[in-house]
C-alpha cells in the first residue's frame, strides 16, 4: 500500500500559498483523490509565518499528520521552522537562494521561471509534477479560478506553469511521491464537494431553514457568515453585521420572536458578551442557535489557533437556571447535519441550543459526497394560531413545559414577552407561587431535550483500551485507534457529538467495562471528563490534553499513549 503524503506549503501571508493549496486541492479532488487540507495562519494580514497543509493519498483522512513529506518553502523561515518535522524521504522545494543542504532539497531558480508574483503558480506546477498529476488537471483548476476573475492573468500563469514543468522534468531527483495511477482520468461520475467545517455549518443551517443571522466578526467563526452571505439571496436569509456581539444576539432573539429561525456565530470572547442575551432567550423562551467556534483563551488568546476550552463556559453561560443543549460535531458531515438538527431542536424546545466547534474543524477542508437532504425538514417556526386554546396564553403552564408559540402580527392574538418573571399571559409578576411554577415549567423542557439526544458513537473494541473524545478530535482519535489496531491491539473509540444533556444509560456501561479509559480533550483541565464524573460518578482517570493551540494528530496521541502507559505501568 502506498503511504499517504503530507505536503506543507509555508511562507508569508500574501505570498499566495492559500491559492496554491486550494488549486492543488481542487485538482486532486477532481482527479478522484482523497485529501485533507488544513490551514494555519497568524492573525495578521500580511507577513508572519503561515502554512497550508495537505494530506494526500488513499484516505479518507480526518486529520493532518505532524511529519512532512513535501515541504514547499516560499521563504527561508519556512525551511528553518519545519526542518524538524521532515521525514527521511522528504523533498524540499525552495528557492535556490535559501534551499538547505539536505538530501531531498530541490533548489529551484524561481527567478528564471518568471516574475515573483507568479512564483506561487510555479510552485504549484512543480508540486503537480512531483505528484504526477496530469498537466491538464492543474490547468483546468487554474483556469476555473482565474478564468472567471482575471482572464488576463491566465496566459502568464499558464506560461510559468509550463516552464516550471519543463524545469522539473529535467531536475527532479529520485522520489516516491508519484500518486499511483495519478495519470488515469479521474472517475468524474461521483460528484464531491470540497468543504471546510464552517462552510458545512452554513449549508446545514440553510438546509435547516435558517432565515436570520446576526454576527460581529470574530475569527474563527466569521467564515460561517461569509458562506451564508454567498447564498443569502437565493435562500431568502437575512444577514446583519451588528455593532458588537451583544447587539447580534439580541437581534437574533428579536428575529426569532418575530418568526425567523435565527442564529448567531461567534468565538469565546464574543460569546462572553452574548451571555446576557442567552439568558433573555431562555426567559422569553425564544429559540436561538449559537455557534461558538472555539479558539484558545482567556481573553484575546490565540485568535487563529484551536482549543476545546469553552465547554464549561457554554454549558453555564447566562444567569439563572434553564435548560439547553450543546452539540459538538466531529466531522464536516456532522457540521452539516447537526447544525440543521440544532436549529430544529431550539425551535422545538424553545430553549437556547449551541453548536460548539473550533478553529481546527472550522478551517479544515475535505471532499465530501453531497449531503443527504432527506430527513432534514426546514424549521417551521411557531404554532398554528387556529389551533391554540383561547384565550391565548404565550406561557401557558403545560405538563411538558412547552407553551404555544405564536408569532406577532399573524393572528388576532397578541404575543407578549417579558424578561422579568411573568405569568402565563407574559405579564410581569412577583407572585412567589407563580415564580416556582414558571421555573419548573422552563426546566421541564430538559426532558424534551433528553428525548432527542444524539447518542455517542462507539467504534472498535469495547473492553480493552477505550479513547473517549468529543467534538473536533474525532478524526485524529479514530486514526490513532486504527493504527493501534493494525499493530494488533484492542482499541475502541467513544465519540460524543452531543455533550449536553448527557444520558448515562447511553454510555456508562461502556466506560465501566473497558480496561483502560483515556479521555482526549483539546484543553488543559479535562472539562468533559469532569462533566462525565459529575453526571455519572465515573472518573476518567487518564487524560490526554493538548492546549498548545494546535489540533490533535494521530502522531501526538500515539506518543502520549505510549509515554503515559510507561508512567502508569501496564494496567
Amino acid at each position: 500500500m502506498q503511504q499517504d503524503i503530507q505536503i506543507l506549503i509555508g511562507g508569508e501571508a500574501g505570498q499566495g500559498l492559500v491559492t496554491i493549496g486550494q488549486l492543488l486541492g481542487k485538482a486532486l479532488v477532481r482527479a478522484g483523490r482523497e485529501i485533507f487540507a488544513s490551514q494555519t495562519y497568524h492573525s495578521r494580514v500580511r507577513g508572519g509565518h503561515n502554512t497550508f497543509a495537505m494530506r494526500v493519498g488513499a484516505g479518507p483522512f480526518a486529520a493532518p499528520r505532524e511529519s512532512i513529506d513535501i515541504l514547499v518553502a516560499l521563504n527561508a523561515e519556512t525551511v528553518e521552522l519545519h526542518r524538524p518535522q521532515l521525514t527521511k524521504r522528504a523533498l524540499i522545494i525552495a528557492d535556490a537562494a535559501f534551499a538547505p543542504e539536505l538530501p531531498g532539497a530541490i533548489a529551484v531558480p524561481f527567478g528564471e521561471l518568471g516574475p515573483e508574483k507568479l512564483w506561487n503558480t510555479a510552485a504549484l506546477a512543480l508540486l503537480g509534477q512531483v505528484l504526477g498529476l496530469q498537466e491538464q488537471q492543474l490547468y483546468q483548476a487554474v483556469e476555473a479560478t482565474l478564468g472567471q476573475k482575471k482572464p488576463e492573468l491566465l496566459e502568464e500563469n499558464q506560461e510559468i506553469m509550463k516552464k516550471s514543468r519543463e524545469w522539473a522534468k529535467a531536475h527532479l531527483p529520485e522520489h516516491d511521491f508519484v500518486l499511483a495511477d495519478a495519470t488515469a482520468t479521474a472517475d468524474s461520475t461521483q460528484k464531491r464537494l470540497l468543504l471546510n467545517g464552517n462552510q458545512a455549518i452554513a449549508l446545514g443551517a440553510l438546509a435547516g431553514g435558517l432565515k436570520f443571522c446576526a454576527f460581529y466578526p470574530m475569527t474563527p467563526s466569521t467564515s460561517v457568515v461569509l458562506e451564508l452571505i454567498t447564498h443569502a439571496e437565493t435562500m431568502g436569509c437575512v444577514i446583519e453585521q451588528a455593532e458588537d456581539e451583544i447587539a447580534a444576539i439580541n437581534m437574533a432573539i428579536g428575529a426569532a420572536f418575530a418568526g425567523a429561525p435565527a442564529m448567531v456565530a461567534t468565538s469565546g470572547g464574543g460569546f462572553a458578551l452574548m451571555a446576557e442575551g442567552i439568558s433573555l432567550a431562555a426567559m422569553t423562551e425564544t429559540p436561538v442557535l449559537t455557534v461558538v467556534a472555539q479558539r484558545p483563551g482567556p481573553a484575546t488568546g490565540m485568535p487563529t489557533r484551536t482549543e476545546q476550552g469553552d465547554l464549561e463556559f457554554v454549558l453555564h453561560a447566562g444567569h439563572g437556571e434553564f435548560p439547553r443543549a450543546i452539540l459538538a460535531p466531529g466531522s464536516i458531515e456532522e457540521c452539516f447535519t447537526l447544525t440543521a438538527r440544532a436549529l430544529a431542536l431550539t425551535e422545538r424546545s424553545q430553549s437556547p441550543v449551541f453548536l460548539l466547534t473550533d478553529q481546527f474543524l472550522a478551517d479544515s477542508a475535505r471532499p465530501v459526497t453531497p449531503f443527504e437532504l432527506n430527513g432534514i425538514t426546514p424549521v417551521r417556526p411557531g404554532d398554528d394560531p387556529e389551533k391554540v386554546a383561547t384565550p391565548y396564553r404565550r406561557y401557558r403552564l403545560t405538563p411538558d413545559g412547552l407553551s404555544p408559540r405564536l408569532l406577532p402580527g399573524l393572528s388576532e392574538h397578541l404575543v407578549v414577552a417579558d424578561s422579568d418573571e411573568h405569568d402565563e399571559d407574559g405579564h410581569l409578576s412577583e407572585d412567589y407561587g407563580l415564580r416556582t411554577a414558571m421555573v419548573k415549567k422552563r426546566l421541564q423542557k430538559l426532558e424534551l431535550l433528553k428525548e432527542e439526544v444524539t447518542a455517542p458513537t462507539l467504534e472498535g473494541d469495547q473492553d480493552a483500551l477505550l479513547l473517549v473524545c468529543w467534538g473536533s478530535s474525532l478524526g485524529p482519535v479514530r486514526e490513532a485507534a486504527a493504527i493501534l489496531r493494525d499493530r494488533g491491539l484492542k482499541v475502541g473509540t467513544l465519540h460524543f457529538s452531543q455533550v449536553w444533556p448527557l444520558l448515562p444509560e447511553q454510555f456508562l456501561d461502556l466506560l465501566q467495562k473497558a480496561d483502560r479509559v483515556v479521555g482526549v480533550e483539546g484543553n488543559a483541565t479535562g472539562q468533559f471528563a469532569r462533566l462525565i464524573r459529575r453526571e455519572t460518578g465515573f472518573t476518567i482517570a487518564e487524560l490526554i490534553n493538548r492546549y498548545d493551540g494546535l489540533p490533535f494528530t494521530a502522531d501526538f496521541l500515539l506518543e502520549r499513549l505510549e509515554t503515559q502507559r510507561a508512567e502508569t505501568g501496564d494496567r
Binding site: V45, G47, G48, L226, Q241, D244, T300
Partner: protein, 313 residues
C-alpha cells in the same frame, strides 16, 4: 528631523529588539502614526514611565506592542475603560489610547461617547481606516455608503458617521482630525491632544490598501495616501481668529494651510469615497476635567465635615 535623531528615537522608544518585525502590511500607514506619537511624546519631554499606552484589538490596537512605555494591549473595544480605571487610580500618569475605528466606535462605541462626556484627561487616538482590517475587511461604522467590504459584497447599505463629530457632540474638550499624509501636522495634533487637560480625541484618517483599497479598486498604498492628501481641507485653529470649521484648504502640500477652495466640509462627505473632509483642530474648549471636579467635590465635603465637626463642639 535629522537622520541620527530619528535613529535615536527609534532605539529609545521602540521595542526593536523584541517585537519586530511588526505585523502590519508593507505600506500600511500605522507605522507613520507610531512615529508621530513618539515624536510628540519626545517633544513634550515625558519620561517613558509617566506614559501608559492602552489599546484594544485590531491592526491599530497592535501599536502598544511595539512602543516601549507602560503598555496594555487589552480586549477588543475596551481600551478606554481600562484607561479610565488607570487614570482614576493614578491621575498623575499620562494615558494615551490607540484604537481602530471598529474598536473605538463599533464594539467600543458606548464607552467612547461616555468617556467623552466624562471628560477625564485622556488622549484617544483613533486610526480610521474605514474598515475592520485585522479580521479580513468587514465593514465598520465608518465604512462609506456603497463601498465594498467582505460583508458588503454588493456595496454597503448603511451610512458612516463622523468620529470627530460624534466626539464633539458627546462632549470631548479637544477634537482634532489629521491624516497619515500630513505628518508634521499630525505630530502637532497629537502633541496638542496629549497636552490638553481633558478628553482629547485625534481622529486620524488612514487607509487599508489590503482589505479596503483592493476591494474598492482604490489603488496601492501610495495612491490611497495621495487621495487622503487631496481630500483633506484644513480648518483654522479655533483658538486662532475665526470660528471653528472655517475652511482654509490644505491643498497639496504636506503642511495644510495652502490656499485652495474650501469644498464641502460636511461630515456627509466621509460617507463617500472621495468627498473632502476637514482636518485640523475642530474643537478646543476649556472645561474642568473630571479629576479636577472630583477634587473640588472632595474639598467641599471635607469642608462640610469640618464645619459639622466645629458645630458639634
Amino acid at each position: 528631523m535629522k537622520m541620527e535623531k530619528v535613529e535615536q528615537l527609534r532605539h529609545y522608544y521602540l521595542r526593536h529588539d523584541k517585537k519586530f518585525p511588526h505585523v502590519w502590511c508593507p505600506g500600511c500607514g500605522n507605522g507613520i502614526i507610531l512615529g508621530s506619537l513618539i515624536r510628540a511624546i519626545d517633544k513634550i519631554g515625558l519620561s517613558k514611565d509617566e506614559v501608559v499606552l492602552a489599546s484594544g484589538i485590531g491592526c491599530a490596537g497592535r501599536m502598544p506592542v511595539y512602543a516601549d512605555f507602560n503598555t496594555l494591549h487589552t480586549t477588543h473595544g475596551r481600551a478606554l475603560t481600562f484607561a479610565t480605571g488607570i487614570k482614576l487610580a493614578r491621575p498623575e500618569l499620562n494615558l494615551i489610547t490607540v484604537m481602530g475605528d471598529g474598536d473605538a466606535t463599533g464594539i467600543g462605541g458606548n464607552h467612547f461617547i461616555h468617556a467623552a462626556r466624562r471628560n477625564l484627561n485622556l488622549t484617544a487616538i483613533i486610526i480610521n481606516n474605514q474598515i475592520y482590517g485585522m479580521t479580513g475587511g468587514q465593514y465598520s461604522p465608518t465604512t462609506p455608503y456603497g463601498a465594498k467590504a467582505a460583508t458588503a459584497t454588493g456595496g454597503h447599505l448603511e451610512h458612516a458617521f463622523s468620529i470627530a463629530d460624534l466626539a464633539v457632540t458627546a462632549g470631548a474638550s479637544f477634537v482634532a482630525r489629521g491624516t497619515v499624509y500630513h505628518v508634521p501636522h499630525l505630530d502637532k495634533l497629537i502633541e496638542q491632544g496629549i497636552r490638553k487637560n481633558g478628553f482629547a480625541v485625534i481622529e486620524i484618517m488612514a487607509y487599508c490598501h489590503t482589505q479596503f483599497g483592493r476591494r474598492n479598486k482604490m489603488g496601492d498604498a501610495v495612491t490611497m495616501m495621495e487621495k487622503l492628501r487631496d481630500r483633506a481641507v484644513a480648518v483654522k485653529d479655533p483658538g486662532a481668529a475665526g470660528s471653528p470649521g472655517t475652511a482654509v484648504a490644505a491643498g497639496a502640500s504636506d503642511t495644510p494651510g495652502a490656499a485652495a477652495s474650501a469644498g464641502a466640509l460636511d461630515s456627509d462627505s466621509l460617507d463617500t469615497l472621495d468627498g473632502k473632509f476637514a482636518i485640523g483642530v475642530l474643537t478646543d474648549v476649556e472645561k474642568p476635567d473630571y479629576i479636577a471636579e472630583y477634587a473640588r467635590l472632595r474639598a467641599a465635603s471635607r469642608l462640610n465635615a469640618q464645619n459639622a465637626g466645629n458645630a458639634g463642639k
